[in-house]
C-alpha cells in the first residue's frame, strides 16, 4: 500500500483557495488517489477521486502530475464550514471490497 504524506495542518481565510498537497512516491500502477473530508464527530465524506491529470467536481479539483508521485486537492473560495480534516488515500480498487487506510490527514482551519 502506497504511503502518503500530507501536512498536519493548514490555516486559511474565508474566500481563499486552499491547496493541500499529498506525496505518494511509491504509488503503484493500479492505484487511485482519493480524498475524503471529515468534520468533528462525523464520518468521512468522499470528495474526489482521480487517476491522472485533473479531475474537477462541484466541490473541489484534484491535480495529479504525470509521474503521479503527488497530488493536490484544491478547494476554491473556502468558507468557515470547510474547516475539517482532509485525508489523502492511495490504493487500488479491488473487486471484493476496498479497505480504506486513513492516515493522520490535514487539519484545515478556515478563519473569518
Amino acid at each position: 500500500l502506497a504511503k502518503t504524506t500530507q501536512p498536519i495542518s493548514m490555516d486559511s481565510y474565508e474566500g481563499q483557495e486552499v491547496n493541500i498537497t499529498c506525496s505518494h512516491n511509491n504509488i503503484a500502477t493500479n492505484d487511485y488517489i482519493t480524498w475524503y473530508q471529515q468534520f468533528p464527530s462525523q464520518g468521512p465524506r468522499f470528495i474526489i477521486q482521480g487517476y491522472k491529470t485533473k479531475v474537477t467536481n462541484e466541490v473541489a479539483s484534484l491535480f495529479i502530475p504525470a509521474d503521479r508521485k503527488s497530488s493536490t486537492l484544491s478547494l476554491p473560495r473556502v468558507s468557515l464550514s470547510d474547516t475539517a480534516v482532509y485525508y489523502c488515500l492511495v490504493g487500488p480498487i479491488k473487486a471484493a471490497g476496498n479497505k480504506l487506510t486513513f492516515g493522520g490527514g490535514t487539519r484545515v482551519l478556515v478563519k473569518p
Binding site: Q38, G43, P44, F46, I93, A96, G97, N98, L100, T101
Partner: protein, 112 residues
Amino acid sequence: EPEVTQTPSHQVTQMGQEVILRCVPISNHLYFYWYRQILGQKVEFLVSFYNNEISEKSEIFDDQFSVERPDGSNFTLKIRSTKLEDSAMYFCAGSVLADTQYFGPGTRLTVL
C-alpha cells in the same frame, strides 16, 4: 439524497457487556464496512462484508466482534464482551462497487 443511518448515536455500556451497533446502508449498496476511530486517532478499518460474508477483516476484528446482515437492510456490528479500549466512534460505510464509500454519522460507544 439517500444517506447511511446508524443507531444509536451514543451507546454507554459497562465493561463485559454485549453491544450491537446498527446501520442501515443505502439501498443499492452491495459492499459494507465497519470502521472505528478512537478519540484523537486515525480512522481504522475493521471489516468488509460482501455477498453475506466477510471479505476482509483487520487484526482489531477479533473473536469478540461479529457482523451480520440479518434482513437484507440492516447491517450490524456486535461486540460480545466490551472492553474499555473499545470506546470509540464506530462508522458504518457502504459502496455500490468496490470504490467510493459512503459513511454514516457514527455511533459513539463509551465503555465504563
